[in-house]
Subunit: 219 residues, 2 copies
Amino acid sequence: MPSMESRRATQIAEALQQQVFSGRYEDGDKLDEVRLAEQFEVSRTPIREALQELVGTGLAEQIPRRGVFVRLPGPVELMEMFETMAELEAACARLAASRITDTGLAQLREANSKCQEAIEVQDFDRYYAQNEAFHQAIYRGAANGFLAKHAAQLQNRLKPYRKEQLRFRGRMDQSMAEHVAIVAALERGDGRAAEQALRDHVAVQGEKFHQLMANLNSK
Amino acid sequence: MPSMESRRATQIAEALQQQVFSGRYEDGDKLDEVRLAEQFEVSRTPIREALQELVGTGLAEQIPRRGVFVRLPGPVELMEMFETMAELEAACARLAASRITDTGLAQLREANSKCQEAIEVQDFDRYYAQNEAFHQAIYRGAANGFLAKHAAQLQNRLKPYRKEQLRFRGRMDQSMAEHVAIVAALERGDGRAAEQALRDHVAVQGEKFHQLMANLNSK
DNA sequence: ATCAATGATATTGTATACAATATAGCGGTC
DNA sequence: GACCGCTATATTGTATACAATATCATTGAT
């Protein structure tokens, strides 16, 4: 286990990301350097570095000589992010259809069976963890490290929203069924089908759209 | 014209990016803080911020307590980046087929006619500039700001390689012909055709693969 | 001679001090 | 009373000082 990331700045960046995800900040809230400095009991320097990381990941915006402000996606941007995610995953699926290995397929089936176990005890957190494993197995299946990294990054950013959505009635079962269809398409080597299945799986349409909006408003 | 970005750190980041693109650094070269500080006649502080930006865009890698090192893509990662670019643009094309406006189409035709002009005088730089405009018009056509931003970002990172490729005999003409086909597909609203045309246009296969590799080795 | 331990040096990470710019409050003018 | 300009204050950006860690060379042992 290399580099346990002893830089304070990075730790602070991760903590701040958690705080933003947990809804502690509103969109547009200022991330005050001196306030955060005393809050984390540290000087402004590591705070500034942490803020730059947040800006880099898109969770905050920096306005020169004004400060940095948290930047939560509104409905429009959220839809755009989900659509982009759908396209990225669809691309992974299409590529994976002709590239995935037997062990890759085995990992997908493994993740799915663990998803099924989570459903049987209605454990949302556990389901999401295994769901994440499933999707990352697909990224790997595309045999494109660059694409996989970006897909994983966006997945991480959408995590809070996707996780909440699972709590809606029947969503886990539907998600599970889609997973099975995706694996089937990949086993057949049917790129077109896998691509479309994954796109639909991730896309936010119909009932899922309303669920997402309801989720947004409740915060 | 707001915020002419008077932060020194940002200017330095841009300058460094240029230097990396221009081949001034080898892969793995260390970006020494004190050396850069005297080179830019500035203290280490803005240098460190600039380096963080480079790390954020993927042009450098930071190893805690060791320093930051330039990270140029090797053949494999470069192919992965082009493949990802192809998929992103293909997605934009598919979405644009049903969303692009008349003015959007007009912009595409406009960019193409300027590309044609550049070909007639064999002006590579001018061609690439208009080529860039063409692709960005497609991104906008997808009516997804998030996707467009990411596509533009990756395009920027691949810029040096794509630009060099145009110098190979006949590449501008071929590129131009493909542009025309893409616009035609979008005019018909044929998403499948537009998607595939753009994917092939961006993909690095066959002769283009060898050209790209030759380009890499010559540096 | 190779390797390990130890100390000297160099470099990164953080704190503090200073400079430059923005924000806010006040008074004046029309 | 609204708007403009000025001064005082606060906040960001940069420089410098200090601390912590890594790198390197030297020395000694096997």
